[in-house]
Amino acid sequence: MSINRKELEEIAALAQLNIPEKQVSHITESLNQVMDMIELINDANTSEVKPMSHPNDAWQLVRQDEVTDTSHKTELLALAAHADEDHYLVPKVIE
């Protein structure tokens, strides 16, 4: 398995990243070294094995459906680069 320039651009777009032109060949090469490394996984016989997504055999806990009255709107909006009193501000998306 290896990755080419076109695939790199497609995946970078999925991941919302711009890869600068001068870094494309370096990153492609670096990714292909990793691809070679992870390819080893195909040596394992896993036909009867259940995937393990998590180390603990736990289930999702639920909490009591109680009203909590804490609003952190002001502190959270203050972390944004651009916000008014009630909204995050972004470039216009609808003409």
Binding site: I3, E7, L8, I11, A12, L14, A15, Q16, L17, N18, I19, P20, Q23, I27, S30, L31, Q33, V34, D36, M37, I38, E39, L40, I41, N42, D43, A44, T46, V49, K50, P51, M52, S53, H54, P55, N56, A58, Q60, L61, R63, H72, E75, L76, A78, L79, A80, A81, H82, Y88, V90, P91, V93
Partner: protein, 482 residues
Amino acid sequence: MINLSIRTMAEMLKNQEISVQELCAVYSDRTKAFNHSTHAMITINPELNAAEILQAQSLIGQDEQLLAGIPLVHKDLFCTQGVKTTCGSKMLADFIPPYNATVVQKLSDKGMVSIGKANMDEFAMGSSNEHSAFGAVSNPWDLSRVPGGSSGGSAAAVAARMVPVATGTDTGGSIRQPAAFCGITGIKPSYGRVSRYGMVAFASSLDQGGVMAPSADDCGLVLSAMTGHDPLDSTSAQQPRLNWEKPSSPEHKGLKVGVVNAWIDELQDEGIKQKTLDAIAHLKANGAEVVDIKLPHAELAISAYYILAPAECSSNLSRFDGVRFGHQTKAVDDLESLYRQSRSEGFGEEVQKRIIIGAWALSSGYYDAYYLKAQKVRRLISEDFKQAFAEVDVIACPVSPEVAFKQGEKSDGVSMYQADKFTIPASLAGLPCLSMPIGFTQGLPVGLQLIGNYFDEQSILQLADQYQQQTNYHLQLPEAFA
């Protein structure tokens, strides 16, 4: 003063031989003095917080866990209310959290005094601490070498005794490998033992907070205070709090220690191999029954890990959009460009590389062949450990195939990834594990890894403590910092 255990410092505070203010000032001054050479810290609190000192002083003598008044630093991915939390990234360079991580809050409630935030590989991705947006950390044993990573700042700060204890996190070895490289003790508890609330996420099914300190006893005391179920973290285990009990005797009578001889045989560094064999012989001489164990699927661990961890990272780091918090680019006029440009400017190269690997592994056409396959391999590795723990109480094995390497020596990522081969298997299984110092080769520290069964941190801490009752490798200080 600078090489005392937590128990001794607690005794001195209780007997009024020293005040909290004086103790914290000793370490705060050392942190300021030695940060120029180590770069172990990203943020140093300019002044000790008077309210924190007062609260700690009021707890002296009442605190059974002996932590009141003990200074510490937090790895810079634990959210600290009102104190910058960068995660080693330009993305969060100006991020000031409005809340504390559960770990930070629990230790603060016990009266521990934070004197700053430790450097780290960006978003905890790296094994050398060279991937920090705020500069590489130097190893106090040789400033031209790396301290390991990703908790390299925490490890270097403890090794140079800039602080007596630091928090760290471990996803694939990020506490154990830097602890080994810097000659200190570091424990990653069982997955779920410590709340991840307020810990900036890298790979959520693997990340776990832990402790780095000179001795296993120090680690046990602090770890106990960090544990306990947290309703704010749905993956936090429903387990009672760890209650570390220091053993009274150095004898390991009746303890069965499984040794992964295949891993020791493959060590190329004769110095590390000899120290590992010596340490195991020491355990045997003190009454442990040593048996050979096999972990046949562990050789696939790196491949599985470098699919699963990047996949989880690509998902977790999608929250950084430049809008709600974190770095936002300037001079773009559409939302799509804002997202892409903010992320491309904010994340460093290693982080971007892992996001891309993860996005690729999760993308259509590769999900079954790679992501699902890696999850199946993870189960095989976990089953190997379950079989081993049916026979033994603790597993002993190397931490790293190498000692601290020179900065800039590993230019390709893959050779650095492959050096995590001994730490990743236990991470995938979610088991508790630690690294303890077992000597020096070429003047550099060597560590031994102890892995315990699920939620049995007591056994590995106990074995390490018993070893440390008879050795003094954990008390050695680098000459320039003595």
